[in-house]
Structures are given as structure tokens and as C-alpha cells.
């Protein structure tokens, strides 16, 4: 459109002032249109970009997963268990597998600790002889009940909510445990879940 107007109205034949004001109005209209469209398009782009955050509000990432039969975890011992994250995307591969430490306190009482150190998330290891969890990164150490023993962590290990149903040990998981995630808030429960 603009090109045609230019062709039919050569600047030499029309009063310059009129042309400029009409063209500048048209230009402003064009900028306005582009601005509006840009805003309209930004909304889906931002919505897409933040989908990982917004999805949490709708469905949540957490669900109950079985770690196996109660008989796999001898009473009084702490064993490594692995589970597949409930929320998996097609390209996750092995990264969707996660470990956790299962402590069978007694009877139906269990404590399930995240593998991630409460300091900065490195994988803690269990030493049954000294009854300690040790972190290889910055030297965090925890007692067998997950409470902080030494090193830089400011708190005990992250714990998953857990229950025993039909002879299966189950935990509520689905998120990388960090100081901001749900498993971090569960620690305040001092007593093992049954």
C-alpha cells in the first residue's frame, strides 16, 4: 500500500507538509500495529517459556511411587533404593532414574532420605560402620536419622514423605530436592513416617 501511494504522489507535485504529516501518521499506525501484534505474540512465548513453572501450579509434579517390598529393607539398616521419576519426558534417558536412602527404623517405621546433600546437592554416601552419611563435595556429614552432624550444611538431609501400603514402601517424589522444593520442607518432621 505504502509503495503505491508513493508512486502516485511524487513528492514534487504535492505540498510537502501535508504528505509528511499523512505519512508520519501512517508510519505511527504501522508502529502501533506492530507493537500490538508483538504484545499479543509475547504472551504465548512467555507462557511457553515458563511452562515448567506454571505446570506445577496445575497438576503438581509429585506422586506416590513404590520403592519395593518392605522385605527388601532389613530392619535397623539403611539401604540404597532407586526409582524412576514419575514425570518423564521422551529424552530424559537415565537422568530420570534417582536414588534415595531408605532407613528401616523398626516395624512399619521408615525414613527415606534424598540422595542430594542439603548443602549443594551432591550425592551423599552411607557408611553403616560409623552410622554416618558423608558428602564428597564440601564435606557435609549427617547422622543416621538424617540430622546434621558436621560440615557446611545448615540443616539435615531432605526427606521424602513415605508410607507403607500393601507391604510396599512408598514415597512421594517427583522433584529434584533443593532447599526450595517440597522434600526440603518435610524435614521438620522429626519422627519417621509409618
Amino acid at each position: 500500500m505504502a509503495t503505491r501511494t508513493q508512486n502516485t504522489n511524487p513528492p514534487t507535485t504535492t505540498p510537502a507538509q501535508n504528505t509528511i504529516s499523512r505519512r508520519s501518521v501512517l508510519m505511527k499506525l504501522g508502529i502501533l500495529l506492530n507493537g500490538l501484534i508483538a504484545i499479543v505474540l509475547t504472551i504465548p512465548i512467555i507462557r511457553y517459556l515458563f511452562s515448567a513453572v506454571t505446570r506445577e501450579r496445575k497438576n503438581g509434579y509429585l506422586s506416590w511411587i513404590s520403592l519395593g517390598s518392605i522385605t527388601q529393607f532389613p530392619e535397623g539398616e539403611t539401604r540404597l533404593a532407586t526409582f524412576r521419576n514419575p514425570d518423564v519426558t521422551p529424552t530424559d534417558g537415565q537422568t530420570a532414574d534417582t536414588s534415595c536412602w531408605v532407613r528401616h527404623v523398626s516395624g512399619d517405621q521408615f525414613q527415606v532420605f534424598a540422595i542430594n546433600c542439603a548443602h549443594l546437592g551432591c550425592p551423599v554416601r552411607w557408611f553403616s560402620q560409623s552410622g554416618l552419611f558423608m558428602c564428597p563435595c564440601h564435606g557435609g556429614v549427617y547422622y543416621e536419622d538424617g540430622s546434621r552432624a558436621a560440615g557446611p550444611p545448615e540443616r539435615g538431609l531432605f526427606t521424602y514423605p513415605c508410607k507403607v501400603e500393601n507391604g510396599l514402601v512408598q514415597i512421594q517424589a517427583g522433584e529434584l530436592p533443593t532447599p526450595g522444593s517440597p522434600s526440603a520442607r518435610n524435614l521438620e518432621r522429626k519422627y519417621p513416617c509409618a
Partner: protein, 494 residues
């Protein structure tokens, strides 16, 4: 020859680039600025160009998928002709680039080049440094191995400490609730599209400013920068003692760049590519994750900061550091340029370099971490076993079995988290040893629940023999008689 000339003329009539290129090439620079000290910027540009080329080469094979990335790296290393060499060039190129950019920055700072009217050049340079570090970190993530996986976990843990938005920030960085396919894909997008795009744009702007404002003159003690007079003085300097950049300056840039490229190729050839280390499988927990070289100092800092200072330092520290660097040209935009007249500037560079160097050095052997296999791997020194009683030997076994060795070294072997115990008996009495073992304290866990009375007795009797021959044991002054008895009974063994 004539044909080439004709094609050139034909092109130039249409492109009309010949004249501006000639102007750029022959722009005048102060004679003394055509110096060996002014070659680091162009060297960084050269390495960046190589990174683009090798990066594109790697992308021909690499698969940015959490399930395939590690295998495609193995294939690059072993299955593609010279794939290992391209990976090595890219990996060492990254290290070279960070190093050269840092040297460039230090040189620019010490030569006062950030002062008026080059404030914006410095600011863009600071942004380019951050982008370079962003490339280094995201590149480490693309080498999707155990270090990358746990490194991402550390990044997520740091991000999660942000007040209010922490949990959302983690999901935004990871692209989901866990480190997985989406995480790798978004770091791929950053490493391959977003950051390189910004680097190319801002490097161009950086160079444009160097041309427009002119390269920094050679600083002279007593030659003061003043906003009112600087531009005129600089122009006079160019008139009096200016030389065309080509060939006066560029030959040094070219030769230095060639040396850097040669060194890079030699490093790549002799030291090979970086990793990948183990498979990024979170169920393999026998791993000691460590960041790449240029982030080791952060790793050390995170172990050594007092716990209560850590979150503030992590969240506020970078903001303060970046703000200080960004404000520098506005606070100190005028005045002396020569380093001899700027002792605080020189001291700052030395202090920062020493601090970063020391942290990096410490991170090399991480004395703050328990040595995970010392208890089963390191033998008890002979002199603490020979001629000892059964109880003491039993104590030595308890010492190993209860992983004491993971944190305490004997004869230089073992962890360095706690104090070395070769002479602990000269510092602590039997009672103090029992208390320390059972109750812990001073950053040592309490072992009361995990030691039977018999084990404790054995362990402490072993600990009381840990002293150099001839050194007297610690004693409790309030029980001097007892102490004398102990001294006699234990010194009898030597």
C-alpha cells in the same frame, strides 16, 4: 592476475567496501600502542573464531538429548576420525579463551584503558567476560557426564536459595522438576544460539568502539586524563606520533595469535579432550563431582565460607562484584593511567589473582572433603602397630573400621577434614579423647551411638599412643600424679 583484479574491481563497484576497509586498516594508532602488551584482545577474538569453527564441527555429530549426548560424545572420541582432536581443540579453546579474556581485562585495567572516553568499551568488555564464563559453564553442561549432572544440581541448589522465587527459578533453569532432557536442551540453546549470538553482536560493538574512540595510548606517569582536554591531547598525539595500524600494529597481533593457536593445537594434541567422565546416571553415587578449572575457586569458596554467610555471599556477592567492575570507569574515569601511580589498582589485581589462585589450588585436593575410601584403602602406619598391646591394635582396627581415617590422616595418608592425629596424644588426655569421640564437637560428629563401650576403650587406647617417640603425652594438671603414672607406663614402650 589481471582477471582477479577485474573481479575485484567489479565487486567493489557494487559492494563499495574497499574504501571503508582501507580506512579501518590504516587508521592511526599511537606508535607506542602498537605494542606486545596490546595483543590479548585480538588473541581472544582469534580463539573465539576457532571456537565457532570447532563448535560447528562438533554439532555435526553431537546429539543434545539427555539419553544420547553421552553416547554421541563417546562416538566423537572413538568413532569419528579426529573427533577426539576437535573435541580437545574446543575444550582447550574454552580454557584458553577464559584465560586470555582475564589477562586482557587485567592489562586493560592496569593500563587505565577503562577511563574516559572508553567507559562503554569497558562495560561491554565486562559483559563479554560474563558471556564467556556463561559459555564455559554451559559448555561443561553439554559435556553431559557425571560432573555435568551434579554440577547442574549444584547450580539448582544455589538458585533455589533465592528468596521467594527460588523454587520457580530452579524449574525455569532445569526446564522441569528434575535434571533431564529439557535441561540439556535449554543449555544447548544457550550455548549454541543465545550466548554466541550475543557474543558476536557485542564483540562487534566492542571493536567498533575501539576504532571510533581509538586504542588506549601508552600510559605515562604524570599524564593525567581530564574530560575537558583528553580528546584534544589524544588527537595531537596521533598527529605527532601516529602510525597506521596496518602494518605497524597488526603484525604483533598476527604473530601472537599464531603462537596462541599453535599452543592450543599442541595442548589439544598432547593432553586430549576433556572427558566425558562417567555416564550421567544419578543412581551411580560413587562419584566425586568437580567443576571445570575456571570454576574450581567457587567450589572451594563454597566449602570454606561459614554456613551462615553462604547464602548471602552467593546471592549478593556476584551482584556486588559486577556492580563494582561496572562502576569503576565512572568512579575513576579521570586521573592517572600509569600503574606506578596507582598502587591500589596494582594491589587489587595481585590480591584478586592470589585469592583466586589459592582457592583453585585448594580445590585441587579439597582438604575439606572426607576421603571416601581412606578407611578401607590406607594401611595403619607400622610404628603404631609394632609392639602394641592387643587392646591398642584392636583400637587401630576400630579406627579404620569406623571411617575415622576418612577425615583424619595418619602419616600423611587419609582425609584432611579434621586434624591429623599423628600426635593427638600430646594434645588431648585420655578423658578428653573419650569426650571428643563420644560427643563430637568442633565440627566432628558424635560417635556415642555407634561405638560400644568396648570399642570406645580400644579406640581411645589406640589414640593415646599416637605421639612422636619421646614426646610427652598430654596430661591433666589437676591430676598430676595420674599423668606421671601414664607417662611412665607408656614411655616404657619406646
Amino acid at each position: 592476475m589481471r582477471l582477479i583484479e577485474q573481479i575485484g574491481k567489479w565487486l567493489d563497484r557494487r559492494l563499495q567496501l574497499g574504501e571503508p576497509i582501507r580506512e579501518i586498516a590504516e587508521h592511526s594508532v599511537p606508535r607506542r600502542s602498537a605494542s606486545w602488551w596490546y595483543v590479548f584482545g585480538s588473541a581472544a577474538l582469534t580463539v573465539f573464531a576457532l571456537q565457532i569453527v570447532t563448535g560447528i564441527m562438533l554439532s555435526l555429530i553431537y546429539v543434545p538429548s539427555a539419553s544420547e549426548a553421552w553416547n554421541s560424545l563417546q562416538f566423537l572420541n572413538h568413532g569419528v576420525a579426529l573427533g577426539w582432536f576437535i573435541r580437545a581443540l574446543h575444550g582447550w579453546g574454552s580454557n584458553f579463551m577464559v584465560a586470555i579474556v582475564l589477562i586482557h581485562m587485567a592489562q586493560v585495567f592496569l593500563f587505565g584503558a577503562y577511563k574516559f572516553p572508553r567507559e562503554l568499551t569497558w562495560l561491554i568488555g565486562l559483559f563479554l567476560l560474563l558471556m564467556t564464563l556463561g559459555m564455559a559453564f554451559s559448555g561443561q553442561v553439554l559435556r553431559f557426564d557425571q560432573d555435568a549432572y551434579w554440577g547442574l544440581g549444584i547450580g539448582a541448589s544455589i538458585a533455589s536459595r533465592t528468596p521467594i522465587v527460588g523454587a520457580a527459578l530452579v524449574k525455569l533453569i532445569l526446564g522441569g522438576p528434575i535434571i533431564g532432557g529439557a535441561t540439556l536442551s535449554r543449555f544447548f540453546a544457550l550455548h549454541v544460539f543465545v550466548i554466541p549470538g550475543m557474543l558476536i553482536a557485542f564483540v562487534s560493538l566492542h571493536l567498533f568502539l575501539v576504532l571510533k574512540v581509538g586504542i588506549n595510548e601508552w600510559p605515562m606517569p604524570g599524564r593525567i586524563v581530564r574530560k575537558e582536554t583528553y580528546v584534544r591531547q589524544y588527537e595531537e598525539l596521533l598527529k605527532k606520533d601516529g602510525v597506521p595500524f596496518v602494518p605497524y600494529g597488526i603484525w604483533k597481533d598476527l604473530i601472537f595469535s599464531a603462537i596462541i593457536l599453535l599452543a592450543l593445537a599442541l595442548f589439544a594434541f598432547f593432553f586430549g579432550p576433556f572427558g566425558p567422565t562417567g555416564v550421567p546416571d544419578p543412581t551411580i553415587i560413587q562419584t566425586v563431582p568437580k567443576p571445570d578449572y575456571f570454576f574450581l575457586w567457587i567450589y572451594a569458596l563454597l566449602a570454606l565460607l561459614p554456613p551462615s554467610l553462604e547464602t548471602p555471599a552467593l546471592l549478593i556477592g556476584p551482584v556486588v562484584a559486577i556492580a563494582a567492575l561496572a562502576l569503576l570507569p565512572f568512579v575513576a574515569g579521570e586521573g592517572e593511567k600509569h600503574w606506578r601511580r596507582r598502587p591500589i589498582a596494582v594491589l587489587s589485581v595481585i590480591l584478586i589473582a592470589l585469592t583466586l589462585g589459592m582457592f583453585t589450588h585448594l580445590a585441587g585436593f579439597s582438604p575439606w572433603s572426607p576421603k571416601m575410601d581412606a578407611w578401607s584403602g590406607e594401611p595403619t602406619p607400622d610404628n603404631f602397630l609394632h609392639g602394641r598391646t592387643a587392646l591398642e591394635r584392636k583400637g587401630a582396627a576400630v579406627f579404620q573400621e569406623k571411617q575415622c581415617r576418612n577425615c583424619h590422616s595418619l602419616a600423611g595418608k587419609g582425609g584432611q577434614r579434621g586434624p591429623t592425629l599423628d600426635s593427638v596424644a600430646t594434645r588431648l588426655t585420655r578423658d578428653q579423647l573419650i569426650r571428643q569421640v563420644l560427643q563430637g564437637g568442633g565440627n566432628m560428629p558424635a560417635y556415642g551411638k555407634n561405638l560400644s563401650p568396648a570399642e570406645t576403650t580400644a579406640l581411645v587406647s589406640f589414640l593415646t599412643i599416637l605421639r612422636p617417640p619421646g614426646a610427652p603425652p598430654a596430661y591433666d594438671p589437676s591430676r598430676v600424679n595420674n599423668a606421671t603414672n601414664t607417662t611412665e607406663s607408656s614411655s616404657g614402650k619406646h
